[in-house]
Symmetry: C3
């Protein structure tokens, strides 16, 4: 009932750091902001999903605002990304990979915290997805892009899989580091396969007719 | 003090379903997203206004996250809209009508729940408006459009009328299904008349001078 | 521990009124909305930052929703801005100045309320910044612009300075009207100097190489 066991705390902090890097690199890439803008977008991306989760599950003030490790990691991630952005040859790849790491970690942690707070199975799975996609959705909205969660079917789906695996593991009494890492890994692999092969969920019939099945991209 | 009486619950669920359809059709129309994006936008549109209301009136976790009927209806609305989007000849009309239904239902329910929670007259009316326009505002922001509540004067105003009628009915002790339906119907009619005749509230003098009175559209 | 002393309440109300004017003028300038859209954007800008602060520090329902002075001032600011928008020759200047006033007042009040609610030093400073930049960020997002807090380094930084000065004054037991006004004045001056001289924080190396040091503007 208290907080995450240590290995899952590590997963949470990893996700925070990865989203801090990702948000800051997105800022450099999409909007070429100055150092403050880059770091602010990194912190919003890293902390946003957890804020929304904590608001919805009535766990306020949010843990990530009270615990210095979260906002410090988000800040450091943003600063590192700002400093390294010139040297990163494949900045797009880095953005996608860090985003997938954050997505995977937060889907597991979000679902697990929601279960911990006494929510039922479906709300817990939904909150896992919201935690995973929340920060990136705010990130994309702030820089004027349609959010990944709407553009790419294989963004919400892997988060849903990981959140469902986490809740199932808790319900069956087998939740721990192996189960958490397994769920996160499943999410990460599905997401990266989707990106690699340009997979998407089915498009609406209207789109298919008028623009062909691969029309929207991801 | 507990929950809505059955007929008003029906109004709430109707609004949720209508916004689920509306959000999903907007996704098909505006951004041609895949099935996941379409359903996600439907659910966000359907549940977003109630989430904001429940956060502001400190009723967390939100009722719509805990009660399976809400998120299921939002999901089903999204799936139906996705499946039917090809057959819908007048998709724009459907979008506008479903939006007006959701707006009307949520203005009444939002104001009534706020009064129920002990808020005063003005905050209750404001929360009714916020509930009504909240989901659509998130929807428009996510697909990169200026929200209806800003673009069209006759969007916030009918919601305000319905919320004020609801709060007045409660204050006068005559609130029930007839009053709730009456307020919702008033909102729906004002909104649809505004859409039909392209009515808008007055524009700023500067705009009128430089672009003529009908310059901005709705 | 209760509410702000009278002079600080005056600072809070001043910020609310300034942001109401600013949001409404932004609506006239950026999107040429009708009177409802203009007033709605003014109210969202004026009340948004405080809403986010009150949600994150678990002080719900938000004070600005319960206290008629806040929403009335926000509404009146929006109406005045709508009425005067034609006569204002230098509307851009007015927008920037009102924004700086709101930013300065809210950074102080936000940090002070967060400290009051028992949060630590760093979370209080962060919440001061969030209060200051929150309303403007929602405003910019709704009209489709990249938020000031991301575009201009000297937007978050002056808010951070004022919030830090406020928290320091509270910690040292010297917080009161002079300290609050001093912190707000410092924020205002830094912000206006940044606008006047086009100052920005350093840009990422990549940008500097490809577009020159002043490439992004503010």
């Amino acid at each position: 009932m208290s907080s995450e066991p240590a290995p899952l705390l590590a997963l949470d902090l990893t996700g925070t750091f990865a989203f801090g890097l990702n948000g800051a690199l997105t800022a450099v890439r999409a909007a070429r902001l100055d150092v403050v803008g880059v770091v602010v977008l990194g912190m919003i991306t890293a902390l946003g999903g957890g804020f929304i989760r904590d608001v919805l599950m009535d766990s306020l003030p949010p843990a990530t605002l009270l615990d210095w490790r979260y906002y410090t990691l988000a800040l450091v991630g943003g600063l590192i990304a700002f400093a390294l952005s010139r040297r990163l040859r494949r900045i797009e790849t880095a953005i996608v990979v860090f985003d997938a790491i954050g997505l995977s970690a937060f889907a597991v942690i979000g679902a697990s915290k929601a279960q911990d707070s006494g929510l039922g199975v479906v709300p817990s799975v939904l909150l896992g997805v919201v935690t995973a996609v929340g920060g990136g959705t705010i990130r994309d909205t702030l820089v004027g892009r349609i959010p990944s969660v709407l553009r790419s079917g294989l963004y919400a789906v892997p988060a849903l899989v990981a959140a469902a695996m986490t809740v199932a593991a808790i319900e069956w009494g087998v939740y721990g580091l192996p189960a958490g890492l397994g769920a996160a890994t499943a999410c990460f692999l599905i997401r990266m396969l989707g990106v690699r092969f340009g997979l998407n969920a089915p498009e609406p019939p209207e789109t298919r007719r008028s623009r062909g099945p691969r029309g929207t991209g991801a």
